[in-house]
């Protein structure tokens, strides 16, 4: 816990002058606050009883003056604190975001998007609140407590001593409460998240829910989660109602005792009425910070938990990173070789002893059943994952000796399910890279056979996807992804050939588009289609992460029974037309 706090503290250290300023202001606030009851005492005892109006005015002016000073101090500290916390929040967010940018695919395979998002939003918010509000609050309370305690004892030692009796009681309740309510709060938060997820799932899958006619089942699911949220909330209500008013009770009882004991002292003349009034004032100023203590503890616990999660991600070393002496690769010819490559994923061998190569400009087709490891093999080339043993080379250099950025610059990837950003078509093609000229973008769009569609839109390339009902069909998304790869002018193209969600005519278009993209470039193409495989320079048949057969399409057709089986129905289609 302390090391986490310290690390958060280091973020704040950059703004130390602000922190210092805020500290001075905090002292001003609690100092003026701590003096007020004492002045009230003088007003009652000295000014009023003596009947000297000028003295009265003087004391009241002092009171008001201190309030104004306090007001200014409070404004400064509040603003400065939000400045520091917002800056630290910004720094934390940026650092976390950066470390997320460089985490490897393996990290994202395991991570849940929603959780990563809440690391960057609610966890950072919690830390911001902690720094901007909790920490100053803690110090104001601490200094007010100390100053008031000293003042209280200086007003009347004996009575103050009596009031000490209530401290442990308040402290006990204040610290006990968070440990009782804390777990329930956590549970409530978790259940609330669960309920949100339940609603979300139901809404995202609405078509499936309707098709399966399982609305009743969904309702039961919802009711059961909502029911446990209700139970937990009511349990939380019960505890809060039980504990929170207890503190006022202790404060009230102590005040009653003050009235009795202090009143007797006042009657005997040992204590003035002004002192009595001041003491009642000090009592709440001393007890309040104690009662806030538990609450502060709970919030700090939450902030520390958030910070721990954030630092955990920052501490995760990117699985794929530049070696210290990595070199830039430029002007590559595009010769790719796998030399005895194995790759294990989550302890399971996913690729085993693969040897294959592509000469510059060659097209290699990878075929095999879903889950056989085709995509995994291809993912090793841009180092989305690093090999476990063996090596992948480009132009003879182990790719792990290259700078990742320069390696990936060489390679154009067209995935099976292209991700489209909710931004303009232009930015979707260039991914925000302004160094491409208009001609290059149009060229790429034309090559990908998406330009006709783009120019049919009133805003052309500047149309925002999703805006004004402009949505993209599966085929269009794929062609955008092809344009995205084409504009890079890559030496090597990796292509997960999926024409699953498009009709024959679109498929034809995509094929033409791909033809242009692939001309002259080294290509690895994952395909289910016989026609595509037949056009490759070499076909690699993958089975359970191993190369089951490799060779030219015609040879495999002749020699490999497994290969023929894989394409049995497509072969039959073509042949049955005789």
């Amino acid at each position: 816990m302390w090391s986490t706090l310290l690390r958060v503290g280091r973020y704040a250290k950059r703004y130390w002058s602000y922190v210092l300023l805020s500290g001075v202001m905090v002292l001003t606030i609690s100092g003026t606050e701590g003096l007020s009851p004492l002045i009230t005492k003088f007003v009652i005892d000295t000014a009023i009883s003596s009947g000297d109006f000028n003295t009265l005015l003087m004391f009241v002016a002092l009171l008001l003056g201190m309030a104004i000073v306090r007001g200014v101090a409070r404004f400064v500290t509040m603003y400065v604190d939000s400045y520091v916390s917002n800056r630290v929040g910004f720094d934390l967010r940026s650092d976390l975001f950066r470390s997320l940018q460089y985490q490897s695919f393996a990290f994202y395979d395991k991570a849940r998007t929603g959780q990563l998002i809440s690391r960057l939003t609610s966890d950072v918010d919690e830390i911001e609140r902690f720094l901007g509000w909790m920490v100053p609050f803690f110090f104001i309370n601490l200094t007010t407590f100390l100053i008031s305690l000293v003042m209280m004892f200086s007003v009347d030692f004996q009575l103050s001593l009596v009031s000490l009796l209530s401290f442990p009681l308040v402290l006990l309740v204040a610290t006990k409460f968070p440990s009782v309510i804390g777990p329930i709060h956590d549970e409530i938060r978790r259940t609330y998240g669960h309920l949100t997820a339940t609603v979300q799932e139901n809404l995202v899958g609405v078509k499936t829910v309707r098709s399966l006619a399982c609305e009743q089942k969904e309702l039961l699911k919802f009711n059961s989660v909502a029911g446990s949220l209700l139970d937990l909330s009511i349990e939380g209500d019960r505890l809060r109602a039980l504990f929170l008013p207890l503190m006022s009770l202790v404060l009230g009882i102590t005040t009653a005792y003050f009235v009795l004991y202090g009143g007797q002292e006042a009657i005997s003349g040992r204590v003035s009425i002004g002192s009595l009034v001041a003491l009642v004032g000090y009592l709440s100023m001393v007890l309040n910070p104690i009662r806030m203590f538990g609450f502060m503890l709970e919030r700090s616990r939450r902030a520390v938990a958030g910070a721990t999660r954030i630092f955990e991600i920052m501490g995760t070393k990117a699985a794929v990173a530049d070696r210290p002496n990595a070199v830039e690769i430029t002007g590559a010819r595009g010769q790719v070789s796998f030399e005895d490559v194995s790759f294990s994923y989550a302890g399971q061998p996913a690729v085993e002893k693969v040897d294959l190569w592509a000469r510059p400009g060659e097209k290699i087709a990878l075929v095999g059943r879903t889950g056989s490891g085709k995509t995994t093999i291809v993912n090793l080339i841009p180092r989305f994952y690093d090999v476990t043993s063996g090596r992948v080379t480009i132009d003879g250099t182990d790719i792990r000796d290259l700078k990742v950025a320069s390696l990936r610059r060489l390679i154009g990837v067209v995935p099976q399910e292209p991700f489209i950003f909710p931004t303009t078509l232009r930015d979707n093609i260039t991914l925000g890279d302004r160094s491409y000229t208009e001609e290059q973008v149009i060229e790429a769009a034309k090559a990908a056979r998406i330009y006709d569609f783009v120019s049919s839109l009133p805003k052309g390339l500047d149309t925002t996807v999703g805006e004004m009902g402009v949505t993209l069909s599966g085929g269009q998304r794929q062609r955008i992804a092809i344009a995205r790869a084409a504009v890079k002018n890559p030496r090597i193209v990796l292509l997960d050939d999926s024409t699953s969600s498009v009709d024959v005519a679109t498929e034809k278009e995509i094929e033409v588009a791909l033809g242009e993209l692939l001309r002259g470039r080294t290509t690895f193409i994952i395909t289910h289609r016989l026609a595509t495989a037949s056009r490759a320079d070499r076909v690699v048949m993958v089975d359970s992460g191993k190369v089951a057969a490799m060779g030219k399409h015609e040879d495999l057709l002749r020699k490999s029974k497994a290969y023929r089986e894989l394409f049995a129905d497509q072969i039959a289609d073509g042949a049955s037309e005789g």
Partner: protein, 612 residues
């Protein structure tokens, strides 16, 4: 959940002109609290009594000073201290109970409202969801309901308490000393004014801040969901830059909001001390002259210190109330929307055995004026496999959706065994006619849970048997944890093909009379598709299968193929018949086969003639 009174943050939500009158909204929302009338009465009673006790404390303090300390009456002092303690205990007991009852009420009503919303969402037709985003609906069900709860329980009920306290304090003050009471409340209008002014300014700046936060969130979401693209194209640095830009904008907005809030509290505080100062000067002078007793002045001072907080809270309540009303309107919109497709009076259950499904002159449009289907006529019989093919956007999916009453035909009738499906209860229809939608959707839980989702009574053994029969058992066992693989976020980590196989198995296990496959195997590799298809042929024997596909290899064996183009059925017949006919089908077929044949020449037994 968050009861720390951070309403200001919530004030940033987008505000739209409200259409329903305030009175109506309040009445409706109160209606949801009506079942708890007893508790509400209790809460109000507790509040009233609690306020009386709350006011008594400072009064007794004054009495102690004026009547007993001043008169050196120890006996009386004892009694008054005891009374003070009694008031404190009673205040505690009532306060504690009130807290519990109001929170209890809030939580109950929240749960009820959420349930009603969710229930109605289950009834609503797909057309409703076409027009709304999931995130939008989620915030209706989750955060809008919270807003209403927060405003009602910690806002309205607490304010009632505050108001009563203030009323009681005013009464006591005016009774004790009329003019001093006037002095004590002199600054109240100033506090109200300041609060009013600040809260409306805060509203604006917090709205801006919330908007900026939303862009930060969406930037985060985009870059995390799109991280693979960003990395593959080496755009990390740009993503970082763009993120820092919106993040910086958020900090700016946040700081300008901080300027408003930071100045609010100090100013109110100074006003309060100003009020106390007036009290001290006037009261002090009167005490000196003997016109007022010290104890009374002390009572006034304690009261005035307790007076301002409620004034602030109540002033701010107006804004939160507006917020709650806006949220209420959105909540009611979800609860009140009637499903477009309702079961009519006297609706019947779907026949257990479906012999025939008929489309008679069916036309359909999602939006007026843009027909998606035009006068479709189609007959499918039990024991048949009917395929629907055609280019993207031709209306194939719509055709399937109409058969299971996801939408109602704009014109024409669909009959099952001669009964108009408009007269069949939709739930029973969908149990008999099961559609597997194009995008496979998996529920959270295990793969096993998903396969038996529509049929939870099935034993694991039954699932294994069925999966074996379908030819996917091996595939399921090869998943990371086999059938026990956890599905997260709709199936991250499973390939689309695997998800499709699971959703086919899920529909199949519901044992429907008609199975509608809407491109349901588009991402399954041909090899597995072949296996599942022939298993299906065997298992669905005597039942009806409707296949929507663009991969023609999938449909050649169908008993009947309907070719659909621009919403019309343009050709109908078996594969051979259609090829002989020529037209669109043959065109589509040749485009596909042309390439494939070229590839498979070495295997061809005889030279093809139909293509040329």
């Amino acid at each position: 959940m968050q009861r720390m009174g951070m309403w200001m943050i919530r004030l940033g939500e987008d505000e739209v002109e409200r259409r329903l009158p305030d009175g109506y909204l309040i009445r409706r929302m109160l209606g949801y609290a009506a079942p708890y009338k007893g508790r509400i009465t209790l809460a109000v009673l507790l509040t009233v009594v609690g306020a009386a006790f709350g006011v008594s404390g400072p009064y007794l303090l004054g009495v102690a000073i004026n009547d007993f300390i001043a008169n050196k009456d120890v006996q009386g002092l004892m009694w008054v201290s005891l009374a003070y303690a009694g008031v404190v205990v009673a205040d505690w007991a009532f306060g504690s109970l009130r807290m519990y009852v109001t929170a209890w009420l809030g939580d109950r009503v929240v749960t009820d409202i959420r349930r009603m919303m969710f229930e109605n969402l289950q009834r609503l037709s797909l057309s409703y969801f076409r027009r709304r985003q999931v995130g939008w609906l989620i915030s209706r069900v989750m955060s809008d309901v919270n807003t209403v709860n927060m405003v009602v329980t910690s806002g309205l009920l607490t304010s009632l308490n505050d108001l009563l306290m203030m009323g009681a304090m005013l009464v006591v003050m005016f009774v004790l000393n009329f003019w001093l009471a006037v002095v004590a409340i002199l600054v109240v209008p100033l506090v109200v004014l300041a609060t009013w002014w600040f809260s409306s300014r805060a509203r604006v700046s917090f709205r801006d801040r919330t908007k900026k936060m939303a862009s930060v969130s969406s930037e985060i979401e985009q870059s995390i969901t799109g991280i693979r693209v960003i990395q593959a194209f080496g755009r990390e640095r740009e993503a970082q830059r763009s993120f820092e830009r919106v993040s910086e904008e958020y900090v700016d907005a946040s700081l300008s909001a901080a300027r408003v809030t930071s100045s609010f509290r100090p100013i109110v505080e100074v006003l309060e001390v100003f009020g106390t100062s007036l009290l001290l000067i006037v009261g002090g002078a009167w005490v000196s002259s003997g016109a007022l007793m010290v104890g009374t002045l002390v009572t006034f001072m304690v009261y005035s210190s307790r007076f301002f907080w409620p004034v602030r809270e109540i002033t701010m309540l107006y804004n939160s109330l507006q917020e709650a009303l806006a949220a209420s309107e959105r909540i009611l919109e979800v609860i009140d929307t009637e499903p477009e497709i309702k079961d009519p009076q006297g609706a019947v259950d779907a026949p257990a055995e479906i012999r025939e499904a008929v489309f008679e002159n069916v036309s359909f449009e999602y939006e007026r004026g843009t027909p998606v289907l035009r006068e479709v006529n189609l007959i499918a019989k039990a024991g048949e496999a009917v395929a629907v093919v055609g280019p993207t956007g031709a209306g194939k999916t719509t055709l399937a959706s109409l058969l299971v009453k996801l939408y109602l035909p704009t014109e024409g009738t669909i009959r099952i065994n001669g009964i108009d499906i408009a007269r069949i209860r939709k739930e029973s229809l969908r149990r008999r006619v099961m559609m597997v939608p194009q995008e496979p959707f998996l529920f959270s839980g295990t793969v096993m849970d998903n396969i038996r989702y529509a049929n939870p009574d099935m034993s694991e053994q039954d699932v294994f048997t069925a999966a074996k029969a379908l030819g996917i058992d091996g595939r399921m066992r090869r998943l990371e944890a086999g059938y026990n693989t956890e599905v997260i976020e709709g199936g991250v980590g499973l390939s689309t093909g695997e998800k499709q196989l699971i959703s086919i198995a899920r529909a199949f296990l519901a044992n429907p009379s008609v199975l509608v496959l809407d491109e349901a195997m588009s991402s399954v590799d041909p090899d597995s598709e072949q296996v599942v298809r022939s298993a299906m042929q065997r298992l669905m024997k005597g039942r009806m299968v409707i296949i929507i596909a663009h991969r023609l290899s999938t449909v050649v064996t169908a008993d009947k193929i309907c070719v659909i183009e621009e919403g019309r059925i343009v050709q109908e017949g078996t594969h051979e018949e259609l090829l002989r006919q020529g037209g669109l089908y043959r065109e589509l077929y040749e485009t596909m086969v042309g390439a494939e044949r070229e590839a498979s020449i070495p295997l061809a037994k005889h030279s093809p003639d139909s293509a040329n």
